[in-house]
C-alpha cells in the first residue's frame, strides 16, 4: 500500500473505514498484498488436527489431559464465562469433527498461548482474536458437555444416557426460554475474566457455521484471604459441604460417572438464579441467618463454631426445637441425603428493565454422577425453603460433561467409539 510508508500518515490513529477510503483511491502502482513467507497452510489453521501437549513451562496452568476434564475438581477460579450452545448440524460425524477441531485449540488456550499462530498475511483476520495476548494461562479450565437435545438433533438417542434428560419442573421455577437448555456447553473458568471470555469467544468463532450461542453468563467469585469458601451475594459462604477434591473415593461416589461411554465424566447442572438483593438487604441479620441455617460471619452451622464443623440437622434444643430451623436452606438440603459438588459463581448483569432492581444472582453450577442427586436436593427444598422468598430460578440446563482426554485422543472420543 502506497500510503503505509508515509510515517506521518500511519502515526495517526485511523479506522479501517478511513483506511478503506484512502486505499480506495488507488493510485497507480499500488502494491498488492504481498505474500507471507513459505507455504502457510489454511490461514485459520483450524482444520489441522495434531496433538498439542500441555505446556510444562506455562505458569498458572491447569492441565488439559487426564482422566477427567478440567473445571470440575479443579480448584475454583475467580471467574467464569459459561456458554450454552446450539449446534447447526445434524450428524454425529460433524459433532466428531467439531470435537477434533476443538481439542488442540483448547490445549493451546489452557497453555496461555495464542489459539492459532499469527500468519504473515495481514489481509485476513487473525485466527486468534488476541485479547488474551500477554496474559498468562490464568488457571484457565475448559469443560465441555453435551445436552439432552443434542442426541435428538443428531438422531443418536440410543447413545443418550438414561440419566441425561431435562430437569423436572420445581416449585417456584420461573424459567425463561432464553436461559434454558442447550445442545452443548462450554464452561470456561479462569483467574482472569478476559481469559475466560476469550476462550469461549474463540472456540465459538472457530466453530462458525457449526454452533451458535444460545445463552451465556459471566460470573465471579472472591476468596477471603484467610481461606474458606467464597461468599455469594447474600454474603453467605457457598460450597462448604463439597466433597474434597483429593478424596478420590468420595468423588467416585458423588461426582464421577462410572459406566458407559461417559465413564470418567460428570453431569453438570446449571441454574441461573436471580437473587432479590433489595428485599434481602432489608432482612434482619437474624432472619438472614435463619434462612440459611448458618451464621453469616463464620459460616458455621447453627450450634457450631467453625465453617467446616460437622452437624446433625436433627439436633434439637431444650425446647424441642430444631437448632437448625427445618425451613432453612441447609437443613432441607442436608436432609435430602443427596450430595453434589457445587461450583457456583455470582453474577451482576445490570438492572432488570421491568423493575429497576439489580439483575444479580447466582450462576449455580453443580457436578454429580447423576442429575437425580440435584433433583433430590431441589425437591427437598421444595416449597419449604425460606430462601424462596429471596430468589427466583430463571434458567436451567443439564449437560453430560465428557470424560477426560488422553494425549493423541480428542474430546468425547468414547462417545464416537460407542456402538
Amino acid at each position: 500500500m502506497t500510503v503505509s510508508n508515509d510515517g506521518k500518515w500511519i502515526d495517526k490513529k485511523i479506522s479501517r473505514r478511513d483506511m478503506l477510503k484512502l486505499t480506495g483511491m488507488g493510485v497507480a502502482g499500488v502494491a498488492i498484498g504481498a505474500s507471507g513467507l513459505g507455504g502457510v497452510m489454511k490461514v485459520m489453521g483450524y482444520d489441522v488436527f495434531e496433538p498439542v501437549a500441555d505446556s510444562t513451562t506455562a505458569v498458572n496452568k491447569v492441565d488439559f489431559y487426564g482422566k477427567h476434564q478440567s473445571g470440575i475438581i479443579t480448584p475454583v477460579q475467580t471467574n467464569i464465562y459459561f456458554a450454552s450452545l446450539d449446534v447447526l448440524f445434524t450428524s454425529k460425524k460433524e459433532l466428531q469433527e467439531l470435537f477434533k477441531q476443538w481439542t488442540p485449540l483448547v490445549v493451546r488456550l489452557m497453555n496461555g498461548e495464542l489459539m492459532v499462530d499469527l500468519t504473515k498475511n495481514t489481509r485476513v483476520p487473525t485466527g486468534d482474536t488476541g485479547e488474551a495476548d500477554g496474559l498468562d494461562a490464568s488457571n484457565l479450565s475448559i469443560t465441555i458437555g453435551v445436552g439432552p437435545s443434542l442426541f435428538d438433533k443428531l438422531g443418536i438417542q440410543h447413545l443418550k444416557p438414561e440419566e441425561l434428560k431435562d430437569l423436572p419442573h420445581f416449585p417456584k421455577d420461573q424459567l425463561q426460554k432464553e436461559f434454558t437448555g442447550g445442545d452443548l456447553c462450554i464452561q470456561a473458568c479462569a483467574d482472569d475474566p478476559q481469559v475466560a471470555f476469550h476462550a469461549v469467544r474463540n472456540l465459538v468463532r472457530a466453530a462458525s457455521g457449526k454452533v451458535e450461542i444460545k445463552w451465556s453468563q459471566a460470573g465471579f467469585n472472591s476468596f477471603p484471604a484467610g481461606g474458606g469458601s467464597p461468599r455469594n451475594l447474600f454474603a453467605f459462604k457457598d460450597g462448604t459441604v463439597n466433597p474434597s477434591s483429593t478424596d478420590e473415593k468420595d468423588l467416585n461416589k458423588v461426582v464421577w460417572v462410572d459406566k458407559g461411554w461417559l465413564k470418567g465424566g460428570s453431569y453438570l447442572v446449571a441454574r441461573k438464579i436471580q437473587m432479590h438483593l433489595e428485599t434481602w438487604d432489608r432482612t434482619s441479620l437474624k432472619d438472614q441467618e435463619a434462612t440459611f441455617g448458618r451464621y453469616r460471619d463464620s459460616g458455621a452451622p447453627f450450634g457450631k463454631k467453625k465453617e467446616f464443623d460437622d452437624f446433625d440437622v436433627e439436633t434439637k434444643d431444650s425446647n424441642g426445637e430444631y437448632i437448625m430451623p427445618d425451613t432453612s436452606h441447609v437443613h432441607l438440603a442436608r436432609k435430602s441425603g443427596a450430595r453434589i459438588l457445587r461450583r457456583s459463581y455470582s453474577y451482576a448483569s445490570g438492572v432488570m428493565t421491568n423493575t429497576g432492581a439489580h439483575d444479580a444472582g447466582l450462576l449455580f453450577i453443580s457436578f454429580q454422577k447423576d442429575p437425580a442427586q440435584f433433583t433430590t436436593v431441589q425437591n427437598s427444598l421444595g416449597r419449604m425453603d425460606k430462601m424462596n422468598e429471596y430468589i427466583t430460578h430463571r434458567g436451567s440446563a443439564v449437560f453430560a460433561c465428557l470424560p477426560g482426554v488422553s494425549k493423541g485422543s480428542y474430546i468425547g472420543e468414547a462417545l464416537f467409539n460407542a456402538l
Binding site: 500500500m1 502506497t2 500510503v3 503505509s4 510508508n5 508515509d6 506521518k8 500518515w9 500511519i10 502515526d11 495517526k12 490513529k13 485511523i14 479506522s15 479501517r16 473505514r17 478511513d18 483506511m19 478503506l20 477510503k21 484512502l22 486505499t23 480506495g24 483511491m25 488507488g26 493510485v27 497507480a28 499500488v30 502494491a31 498488492i32 498484498g33 504481498a34 505474500s35 507471507g36 502457510v40 489454511k42 490461514v43 485459520m44 447447526l88 500468519t119 504473515k120 498475511n121 495481514t122 489481509r123 485476513v124 483476520p125 468463532r205 462458525s208 457455521g209 451458535e212
Partner: protein, 289 residues
C-alpha cells in the same frame, strides 16, 4: 452510512493527495503493523478482477443516478406514493456498490447521512441533507412541500458522486475489505432496523449489501478456487443460506416486507446467517499471499 470521522480526500486523475482531517474520533484501531514490510514482495496479478469490479461499480453508479433522478422528480412533483415507491429501489444501487460509493468522505453523509450521524458529528439538524431527510418528509411528515431544495441538492450530490467515481481506481483491499464491510453494514445497522427508521425498508438495503458482497466473491471465485476449493464451497452455501432466508420476506412486487413485520426470531436468524457468512468471507484475503 457509517459513523466515521471524515478524511478530506481528494482525487484528481489518479493522483492521491491526502490531508489527514479530523481523525480524533477514529476507532482505536492501530495501523496494520506489518504492512510496511510487504511492499517489496511479489504482487499477485488481480488486474482482470479489479477491472471487472470497477465495471460493476460504475454500472451501479450509473443506475443510481438514473433512479435518483426519477425519485427526485416524483418527489418534486409532489407525488408522495410514487416517491415512496422509488425510494428503496433507488438506494439499492448505492448500497450494492458501497465500497466505492462511500469512498468520498464528505459526499457520503450528504447523500446517505442519518440524522443521528449528523448530530454525532456535532452538526445541527439544518445541516442534514440527502435521502434520509426526504425519507423523513415522506413517511413521517407525509409531505414534500418545503423540501424541494433538499431534493435538488440530493440530485446534485448524486451527480457529483457519479462524476467522482469515474476516477476511482479499485485496489484489492477495496474489494476484499469491502466485501466484509458490506456484511458488517448489514450486521450493525440493517439488521437492527436503524438504517431506515422512518420507511422501515431496511431489507432492501440488506439485500443490496449482500448482493454487493456476492458480486465481489463471484469476481474473485477463480482465484479463490485455485487457493482453497473448500472455502468457495462454504461461501456458496452461506450466501445461499442468507438469500433463502431473505427470500422468505420478499413481497409479490419484488420488494421486501417492512422491518417492523419481522419478529425477533426472524432478525436473529438473519443475523446468525450473516455472521456465519462473514467469517469465511473474511478469509478471501488468502488470494493475496
Amino acid at each position: 452510512m457509517k459513523k466515521t470521522s471524515l478524511l478530506s480526500v481528494l482525487v484528481a486523475g489518479g493522483i492521491l493527495m491526502t490531508g489527514c482531517g479530523n481523525t480524533d474520533e477514529a476507532k482505536k484501531e492501530d495501523k496494520p503493523a506489518t504492512e510496511q514490510a510487504e511492499n517489496t514482495k511479489k504482487e499477485v496479478d488481480l488486474s482482470a478482477e479489479l477491472t471487472a469490479y470497477q465495471k460493476f461499480a460504475l454500472e451501479q453508479m450509473d443506475q443510481f443516478l438514473i433512479e435518483t433522478e426519477k425519485f427526485v422528480n416524483a418527489f418534486k412533483a409532489g407525488d408522495i406514493e410514487k416517491a415512496k415507491a422509488a425510494y428503496a429501489p433507488a438506494r439499492m444501487y448505492f448500497e450494492r456498490s458501497e465500497p466505492i460509493a462511500e469512498s468520498f468522505g464528505d459526499l457520503d453523509p450528504r447523500i446517505d447521512g442519518r440524522l443521528a450521524d449528523i448530530q454525532e458529528e456535532g452538526k445541527g439538524e439544518e445541516e442534514w441533507t440527502g435521502y434520509h431527510k426526504l425519507e423523513h418528509a415522506l413517511w413521517v411528515e407525509n409531505k414534500t412541500a418545503g423540501y424541494e431544495a433538499i431534493a435538488d441538492k440530493l440530485l446534485a450530490d448524486a451527480k457529483e458522486l457519479h462524476a467522482l467515481v469515474q476516477t476511482v481506481e479499485v485496489t484489492p483491499d477495496v474489494m476484499i475489505t469491502g466485501a466484509v464491510d458490506l456484511l458488517n453494514e448489514v450486521s450493525t445497522s440493517k439488521i437492527t432496523g436503524e438504517e431506515e427508521i422512518y420507511s422501515h425498508t431496511d431489507l432492501y438495503d440488506f439485500k443490496a449489501n449482500i448482493e454487493g458482497a456476492e458480486k465481489i466473491f463471484e469476481i474473485l471465485r477463480p482465484k479463490l478456487e485455485a487457493k482453497d476449493k473448500d472455502l468457495v464451497a462454504t461461501l456458496d452455501e452461506k450466501f445461499k443460506a442468507v438469500d433463502d432466508l431473505l427470500a422468505k420476506h420478499a413481497t409479490a412486487d419484488g420488494g421486501y416486507v417492512s422491518y417492523k413485520e419481522l419478529t425477533e426470531e426472524n432478525t436473529k436468524a438473519l443475523a446468525a446467517a450473516v455472521n456465519q457468512l462473514g467469517e469465511p468471507l473474511s478469509q478471501m484475503g488468502i488470494i493475496l499471499e
